[in-house]
Amino acid sequence: MQIQVNGDIIDVEDNMTLGALLTQMDLGERRVAIELNLEIIPRSQHAETKLAANDRVEIVHAIGGG
């Protein structure tokens, strides 16, 4: 199925979880925050949250800023 991650459309396995997506993207260990279809998904729920086709995922982290 296709989902959108940070604005890019990517192909992933059907029924993939958010946790699996993060692992696949090498972000499993990084401090990130996730928004799924404009709703925050708390870190504790990443592993169990299932993705669906056309989901919009935003993955953010902290960078330098003023």
């Binding site: 991650v5 940070n6 604005g7 890019d8 993207m25 090498d26 972000l27 260990e29 990084r30 401090r31 990130v32 925050a33 996730i34 928004e35 404009l38 925050i40 708390p42 870190r43 935003e58 993955i59 953010v60 982290h61 902290a62 960078i63 330098g64 800023g65 003023g66």
Partner: protein
């Protein structure tokens, strides 16, 4: 000196010893960021929230490892947001990123050339964030009416600009900042525009509760030395304010006594 020991900045019930708040943008690398922040003595440090680049090097140092939330009060900002919904989304993401930490710097911008605050959107975002239990430190223009409205909405600190973000032009309208301070029951901090230690000291001498800066340190030839200079300027300005300046006079007033003069 006893008074100074009790002279702390209180924001949303938390006490800080440093009145200098610093950003983490525009530094050469993480090490320079770390050293400059350390030299500044700042306890409240701002950062930005951005999309994680897909495929980026996972070994790259993370800002939160360098500026640790255990050591500093992290103040995530909404810089780069041009409307209230984006600013609110950014704050919610930041709260998740920082495990429920709810102190944020709200900044909703008007255009890219001036980075001047969009007040209509700032007010909308502030209202929504306060309702959602965020502690909002808000970047605004130097309009006393707007500053008061933001305070009345429940913002925990109001931060008028000294001049445009990153301009280094100093405090261009001290009269308005004074009016804002006179009316305020929450801390007023100058955010943006400070270019030199004397600008920072000037803001503090006026009675501002603190100064937030980034470019004045990061864009200096030697950012670490400038961070140390800013720390001293903020302290000097604050002590000067507390000490109370001498009255200005139109004519001279001799400092040495006339009595016992050998002339005449």
């Amino acid at each position: 000196m006893a008074e100074q020991q009790n002279d702390s900045l209180v924001i949303a019930g938390t006490t800080y010893n440093s009145r200098l708040l610093v950003g983490t943008g525009k530094y050469k690398d993480m090490e320079e960021t770390r050293l400059a922040i350390e030299a500044s003595g700042a306890e409240i440090v701002t950062l930005a929230v951005r999309r994680t680049n897909i495929g980026q090097n996972p070994d790259e140092p993370n800002l939160l490892d360098v500026i640790s939330p255990e050591k500093y009060t992290i103040l995530p900002n909404t810089a780069g947001c041009y409307d209230a919904p984006d600013a609110v989304r950014t704050c919610k993401l930041a709260r998740e990123l920082l495990d429920g930490h709810d102190l944020v710097k709200l900044e909703v911008l008007g255009d890219q050339k001036t980075l001047y605050p969009n007040i209509v959107e700032t007010l909308k975002a502030a209202e929504e964030l306060v309702k959602d239990n965020f502690k909002v430190m808000v970047y605004t223009n130097d309009d006393p009416i707007v500053a008061k409205q933001l305070e009345e909405m429940g913002c925990v600190a109001v931060m008028p600009l000294g001049s445009l973000i990153g301009s280094g032009l100093g405090i261009l309208n001290p009269h308005n900042i004074r009016i804002i301070m006179e009316n305020a029951n929450v801390p007023i901090l100058v955010d943006a525009g400070v270019g030199t230690p004397s600008d920072a000291a000037f803001a503090m001498e006026m009675g501002c509760e603190g100064v937030l800066m980034n470019t004045a340190i990061a864009a200096a030839q030697n950012p670490i030395l400038m961070a140390s200079a800013m720390k001293k300027a903020i302290e000097a300005g604050r002590e000067g304010y507390l000490a109370g300046r001498m009255p200005k006079k139109a004519y001279a007033s001799a400092s040495s006594p006339m009595e016992g003069l050998i002339v005449g």
